[in-house]
């Protein structure tokens, strides 16, 4: 259980997140939806313990987050893998830190099995620069789930991928989450409403400047649907319309805010 209470943070006098209250139950797949500059990535970094909130509290399983959080692993849009190590070494480095007692051969086997799980069995000895963007993100996901941690944080992980790779990786993440049997909580940042509807059991919509939680929707009914049925399902379409309305209102507010463009913020 992740509990966020009254969380605010400002950078250089500008409020980025304003009094966020959000509870994430165990085993949930929460999609954080919002336009760029709404503070959703900042919120993810707060959960990870990479940033410290100015006020309010964040606790995971009742323990206050203070510094890089051991219960979490992270996948970023880019630069998750270390380019100077082979894919296999990337995984083994993470595994070695998480399980210092295991022998090198055991770590190697584990790394190989996780790479196979994401369909990268042959990429153990390859450097990230030799992989496509989609393969790199697969390897990053493999590294993130190879270590024993309950919360997987993903910051627009598929933002730079082409539609086909994107769909394949969405399926992969959805399957991995379903297979964990409620053991793993996922917090997934995206600005794509359809992606959120396909992946999330819950969807939190963030508004911009300052970042506020505008809506929190339950999507667990639609979540079980296969991709081709999702957007012919009435309940899903209703939720999509509802979220789009919130989304559009926020965008119009932003467009009407003359200062926003004059200051050049957020672009």
């Amino acid at each position: 259980m992740i509990q966020c209470h009254d969380v605010s943070i400002a950078f250089q006098g500008k409020t980025v997140l304003d009094r966020i209250d959000l509870d994430i139950p165990d085993g949930a797949f929460l999609c954080l939806l919002g336009q760029s500059g709404c503070g959703k990535s900042t919120f993810l970094r707060l959960l990870a313990g990479l940033l410290k909130a100015d006020s309010g509290s964040i606790a995971i399983d009742g323990r206050e987050v203070d510094g890089p959080e051991k219960a979490c692993s992270v996948v970023f849009q880019d630069y998750s893998l270390f380019p100077w190590m082979t894919t296999g070494d990337n995984l083994m480095l993470a595994l070695k830190a998480a399980c210092p007692d295991k022998s090198k051969a055991e770590l190697r086997n584990l790394a190989e099995s996780y790479l196979e799980l994401v369909g990268l069995g042959g990429a153990f000895h390859q450097y990230p620069s030799a992989l496509s963007g989609g393969m790199r993100q697969r390897a990053a996901i493999a590294r993130a789930i190879s270590v024993p941690c309950r919360v997987l944080l993903m910051d627009e992980p598929f933002g730079a991928l082409d539609p086909v790779n994107r769909a394949m990786l969405q399926d992969l993440v959805r399957t991995l989450h379903a297979d964990s049997g409620g053991q793993r909580t996922v917090v997934f940042v995206t600005h794509d409403v359809d992606e959120a509807l396909y992946l999330g059991t819950r969807i939190a919509v963030f508004g911009s400047s300052p970042g506020r939680l505008l809506a929190l929707e339950d999507n667990s009914a639609s979540r079980g649907l296969p991709r081709e049925k999702l957007f012919s399902d009435e309940a899903t379409l209703a939720l999509q319309r509802k979220i789009m309305a919130v989304y559009r209102a926020d965008m119009e507010k932003k467009l009407n805010d003359k200062n926003f463009f004059l200051a050049g913020n957020g672009i």
Binding site: A48, V74, P128
Partner: protein
């Protein structure tokens, strides 16, 4: 370009046959022949062009040298020896110079290794702390701009031997570029990559050796190659301190005796050594940064 090369080749070979000039024969036949072999061995077109261009520049220089010093002696023959004399002397002096090279490379190797061994760890520590970085910046700016030869009297007075003083002078020249570039390398590691590393909860040692060091490595290597150039520049200065052999000593010694043919021989030999050392450095650099060149 190819036509130029052929014209030069014919001119020099003709001159050689006419005057029994062994230098011209070597320059006219050996260099183009060597270039031709390398061109035939090179696969890429750009590489072939580069070899031909380099051969043309070299040939042009040799031709100019030959013309200005041989026939009418446009230049003072004491200061500007003929290429033929230099070539003959080169082979006669080769044994002494190889001896000197070993002594120089020892001095250079020890000093350069020490500068890497101090500047890289120092740069990693200073680079990863904003406070230390700000504190070190003004000092490194000032100290890196002072030519290390000014330290020679202090080095001789404070250090136990002339050799140690020589090593110190080279060390202090190579240290700063490596130190500064290591700091820059650490600062330029993408923040997201560091965040990724933080989330893995690595030990301090692992974090430095497997994240900071390789992350800063491209920048470190740039600084290290600059440091190598600096240490060659300072070699002569260092060998002025009580050395009785070495490449820098050789050139300086014969320059003092106004034996400029040997000075030129020494300069050419130093050029060859530098070329060989930097070629080796490039290879090592390429090997370390091989992760970058993988193709999709």
């Amino acid at each position: 370009m190819k036509i130029l090369l052929v014209i030069e080749l014919i001119a020099l070979t003709a001159a050689a046959a006419w005057k029994h000039d062994w230098f011209a024969l070597a320059a006219g036949v050996l260099i183009p022949a060597a270039a031709l072999v390398r061109v035939l061995l090179a696969w890429k077109k750009e590489r072939r062009t580069a070899i031909i261009d380099a051969a043309v520049v070299l040939e042009s220089f040799l031709l100019l040298w030959q013309l200005t010093t041989s026939n009418r002696a446009l230049l003072d023959p004491v200061l500007f020896p003929t290429p033929e004399n230099v070539l003959r002397l080169f082979f006669r002096e080769l044994k002494d110079m190889l001896h000197g090279m070993l002594s120089s490379l020892y001095l250079l190797g020890v000093a350069y290794f020490l500068s890497l061994a101090t500047a890289i760890p120092g740069g990693l520590v200073v680079g990863s702390s904003p406070r230390l970085r700000n504190a070190a910046e003004p000092f490194s700016k000032v100290l890196s701009a002072i030519p290390p030869i000014v330290y020679i009297p202090y080095a001789i007075a404070l250090l136990p031997s002339f050799k140690a003083a020589s090593i110190f002078v080279i060390w202090s020249g190579a240290f700063w570029p490596v130190f500064v570039s290591t700091i820059a390398g650490v600062v330029n590691i993408p923040e997201t990559l560091l965040d990724s590393a933080r989330m893995l909860h690595l030990g301090k040692r692992t974090f430095i050796l497997r994240i900071l060091l390789p992350g800063a490595m491209p920048s470190i290597l740039t600084g290290a190659s600059l440091g190598l150039v600096f240490s060659f520049l300072l070699l002569t200065a260092a060998e002025l301190i009580g050395a009785t052999e070495g490449l820098g000593w050789y050139v300086k010694n014969f320059s003092d005796f106004a034996d400029y043919a040997r000075v030129v021989v020494g300069i050419i030999f130093i050029g060859i050594v530098i070329t060989a050392v930097s070629a080796a450095f490039k290879r090592i650099e390429k090997r370390i940064l091989r992760y970058k060149e993988a193709v999709q």
